[in-house]
């Protein structure tokens, strides 16, 4: 029971952490009205995971053999792009919100793009969703004894606890000061995206699309990526005890590149020139006394 609990907790937390962050960001910029985009994306992600699980199990052919690999890699890189965009978009909002006062997102503040958060939610859920669906399904198929059902309960409990943790992230984000919230979420998103990019590059090596490069170091004496904590870190931030050269390069290229993009000092914000108010010309005192002439 404990083993299956850890597996589903790990997989589901990768999704629920992201959802907690996204919902939290929308909340803090006053865009609660856009929550439904995130919910829609997450639900579609779940549906797609179920469809993928069914497809892989019941269909055949080269497309079914290769499809999940291609889709999996594509989703990873798409998620990196989307997360980077999200980080950049949040920085734009952070600049227009002064001090600790939340302001409502006006129609002019790029809410045309707000549906993209739904896409982020989708990739977050779909990335590990198909695997988790198949895993739980397999557990149920095999549950012929008390121990078997214990595994199912453990697996479902893992998903439930992950959801609770995601909720905790969302609530925690509401209590922090606004500038700190923006700084922390941007940093977290950067780390998540860097890990994803690095893992995606590693996948390309595994798929034979990139040459396999040698491990650059070995920290398995410190933290094995097969341990519970290690595997959590692998899923969240792409930790590897023996990362390949390409993985290390990908991680740092992304972190430095996107970090510069998101954290550099912004140019002077384009505030509307408040000091210049065009008043109608002052009425001539002499003419007004003459009345309606």
């Amino acid at each position: 029971m404990g083993a299956t609990f850890v597996i589903t907790l790990r997989e589901a937390f990768e999704a629920s952490l992201l959802l907690g962050i996204i919902y939290g960001c929308l909340y803090r910029i006053g865009a609660r009205a856009s929550f439904h985009w995130v919910t829609l994306g997450a639900v579609l992600g779940l549906a797609a995971s179920l469809a993928m699980g069914l497809g892989v199990s019941f269909l055949s052919g080269p497309l079914i053999e290769l499809g999940p690999d291609v889709v999996g890699a594509a989703i990873m890189f798409l998620a990196v792009v989307l997360l980077t965009w999200h980080g950049w978009w949040m920085r734009q909002h952070a600049r227009t919100i002064k001090g600790d006062v939340e302001q409502h997102v006006s129609a002019a503040h790029g809410s045309r793009r707000i549906w993209v958060v739904g896409l982020i939610a989708f990739t977050g859920v779909f990335r590990e969703g198909a695997e988790t669906v198949l895993f739980l399904w397999g557990l149920m198929v095999e549950a012929t004894s008390a121990a078997g059902w214990g595994s199912v309960v453990g697996g479902l409990a893992g998903v439930a606890v992950a959801a609770i943790l995601g909720w905790a992230v969302f609530r925690g984000g509401q209590r922090v000061s606004l500038p700190r919230f923006f700084a922390w979420t941007t940093a977290l998103i950067l780390l998540l995206a860097a890990g994803l990019f690095s893992t995606g590059v590693g996948r390309l090596e595994g798929l034979g699309l990139l040459p396999i490069t040698d491990p650059v170091w070995d920290t398995s004496w410190l933290l094995s990526d097969k341990s519970v904590v290690g595997s959590f870190l692998t899923g969240l931030v792409g930790y590897r005890a023996r990362p390949s050269l390409f993985e290390v390069l990908a991680y740092w290229v992304y972190l430095i590149g996107a970090g510069t993009l998101l954290f550099r000092r912004p140019p002077a914000p384009r505030r509307p020139p408040l000091a210049r108010i065009d008043l109608p010309p002052a009425p001539d005192p002499a003419s007004s006394r003459r009345g309606t002439q």
Binding site: A3, I7, V56, S57, F58, S60, P62, E65, L66, P68, D69, V70, A73, A74, F77, L78, A130, E131, L134, F135, W137, G138, L139, V141, E142, G202, R203, E205, G206, L207, G208, L209, I212, D214, D225, K226, T234, R240, R242, S244
Partner: protein, 115 residues
């Protein structure tokens, strides 16, 4: 939206991925059978020639899906119940690479030795 450059980039990228994966296998790639039965792998030790890509033909004889995963090789593949999938493996440098059945990690273990 139909003329969006991003969409075309995505289509090209996916096509490149598919071509890259399918085009990689040469005609005489060695095929090595691997069976999953009673939540164990058979054989648990696979010997291959270093430097040559090969194909693992994995058959899952159990009633539930299993995920073949090798952290060392960055490969993950779900093998549904009762199915046989061909998994293209890249050319390996000499060494030992472990793999597990992620859904039954305690019993499903093995290693690939490239020499």
């Amino acid at each position: 939206m139909t003329r969006s450059p991003w969409m075309w980039l995505g289509v090209l990228g996916a096509a490149a991925l598919i071509l890259g994966i399918t085009g990689g296998a040469a005609a005489q790639t060695a095929e090595i059978p691997l069976t999953i039965e009673k939540n164990r792998f058979d054989p648990e030790e696979i010997r291959v020639k270093a430097g040559a890509p090969f194909v693992l033909v994995i058959t899952n004889k159990d009633g539930a899906p299993e995920e073949f995963e090798s952290r060392d090789l960055r490969i993950e593949k779900v093998i549904p119940a009762g199915k046989t999938l061909r998994l293209r493996m890249p050319a390996l440098k000499a060494g030992t690479y472990s793999f597990v059945g992620e859904y039954h990690e305690k019993t499903a273990k093995g290693k690939i030795i490239a020499e």
